[in-house]
Structures are given as structure tokens and as C-alpha cells.
Amino acid sequence: MFNMTKNVVANLFAKSSTRLYPFAVRGHFEGFRGTLHINIDECIFCRTCQIKCPSQCIAVDNKAGTWTCEAMSCVYCGVCVDVCPTSCLSMSKEHRQVATEKQTMAYQGVPKKKKKEAAE
């Protein structure tokens, strides 16, 4: 009891450990697997991410040139980022924002018939 008393009294006189989120934000650490982003212009619709995603939440349509991800099903594992051959996927270190509706990330890109054309 006395040991704990020492502890709590010390706490009483020390500054509280609380981070006053959301009024004061300590940023997440570098390398945090946060929100998933796609640079749709770089995407070649190769479907690697769709195949490799453990949560099966990415859908790529290489004909229509769409890339969608069910944001509410993503487990932020970063596998898609790792496997994307063009590195067009990335994860920012902010956590994904809460929402009152279910969200889907849907991107419309230009289906790349030939890599050359796209490059121009």
C-alpha cells in the first residue's frame, strides 16, 4: 500500500501523462502503416495488389481502368504496397479517418494498353 501511495502521490505532483488528443496531436511514428493512397496515374492495372491482398478488398478492372478498395475492409497490412510493381501504392502515416458511412476508395485511371502511350 505504501509503495503505491508513493507512486500515486508522485503522479499527483507530476504532469499527467495524457496526450491531449485531439487538441494536441502527437504525430504517428514514421513508417506507420496508415491510410492507403494510390497514385492512379502510375497504376498499370496489373492486378497484383488485388491478388495479393490478404483481405481481398481491392478490385482492379484493367479494361475499364478502375481501381477500387473497400476502405472499411482493408487491414492495413501493407502487402499491396510491397508488391505493387510500379510503386504507385503508398501508405501515409496518418490513420484513416472515421466515417459515418461505409466508404469505398474508387479511382478511375486510364487503362494502359501500351506502356509507351501512357508514358507520353
Binding site: T18, Y21, T100
Partner: protein, 147 residues
């Protein structure tokens, strides 16, 4: 007058009940972490009250499965209104990585209406705080308090 005061109270005192609806514990421990010194959600008047009859907000983590779906419904029914539901984590939002497992029904919204979705796997404590704040914002709009 009293009505206004009560609405004030509603905003400032959301008591939560947390139901682990088949979560992997990842989200659970983050919910618990919210109570601890670093995040301390009691700053917002939030108490983890443990009893649905006293709670205003239901925090659900995890996937709904066939055995716990009626429990989730029961708990929701026992909460006196006005009340809000927050689904936490990929699992709570949609069933997450387990959507295709045979005993999984899906996200929380398959059983009860969800007011706020908190994505993440697990959802960070900060995100959970955001979630409660978002729920309160929603309540505010419902109560017409923004005007």
C-alpha cells in the same frame, strides 16, 4: 431550459459499453488503451460503464458471428435511448479479413444500425477517440444543437 441543459449533458457525458463481438483483441486492447493515462477518454466524460442499461454509446469490436449476433442485438435493445453505435476496426465495419470465414456474418451493421465506422486493423486509440467525437457530432446535429 432544462431541455438545453440535458442536451449539454448528453454531449458531455457519453458513457460507453464495450462489447467484444468476436474481435481478435487487437481492437479491444486499443479500446482499453483509450481508458489509460496516455489517452484518458474520461477527459470527455466518457466512462466505460460496462452495463448496457447505463450506456449511451455501444462500442463494438470484431466480427459478428452466428453465436454472438443475438447477444449484440440484446445488448443494443437494453440500452435506453438516445443511443449510438460505433463499429470499431475492419472487423466491426465489414467483417474485415474474416469476411469469408464460415462462421462470420459480417460487420456490425448486419445486425444493428451503426452510426460511426472506425477503420483500422486495429483501430488506433486516436481513431477511437475520433469515432466517439464523430458520434457526438452526429448526436448534436440530431438534437439540433448546432443551430
Amino acid at each position: 431550459m432544462l431541455g438545453n441543459l440535458i442536451n449539454q449533458g448528453r454531449i458531455k457525458s457519453p458513457w460507453v459499453v464495450h462489447f467484444d463481438c468476436g474481435s481478435c483483441n487487437g481492437c479491444d486492447i486499443e479500446v482499453l488503451a483509450c481508458l489509460t493515462p496516455i489517452y484518458d477518454i474520461e477527459r470527455f466524460g466518457i466512462l466505460n460503464i460496462g452495463n448496457p442499461k447505463h450506456a449511451d454509446v455501444l462500442l463494438v469490436t470484431g466480427t459478428v458471428n452466428h453465436r454472438n449476433k443475438h447477444v449484440l442485438k440484446n445488448i443494443y435493445d437494453q440500452m435506453p435511448g438516445p443511443k449510438a453505435v460505433i463499429a470499431i476496426g475492419a472487423c466491426g465495419c465489414s467483417g474485415g479479413v474474416f469476411r469469408e470465414a464460415y462462421n462470420v456474418v459480417g460487420g456490425v451493421d448486419k445486425v444493428i444500425p451503426v452510426d460511426v465506422y472506425v477503420p483500422g486493423c486495429p483501430a488506433r486509440p486516436e481513431a477511437i477517440i475520433d469515432g466517439v467525437v464523430a458520434a457526438l457530432e452526429k448526436v448534436k446535429t440530431l438534437l439540433g444543437m448546432t443551430a
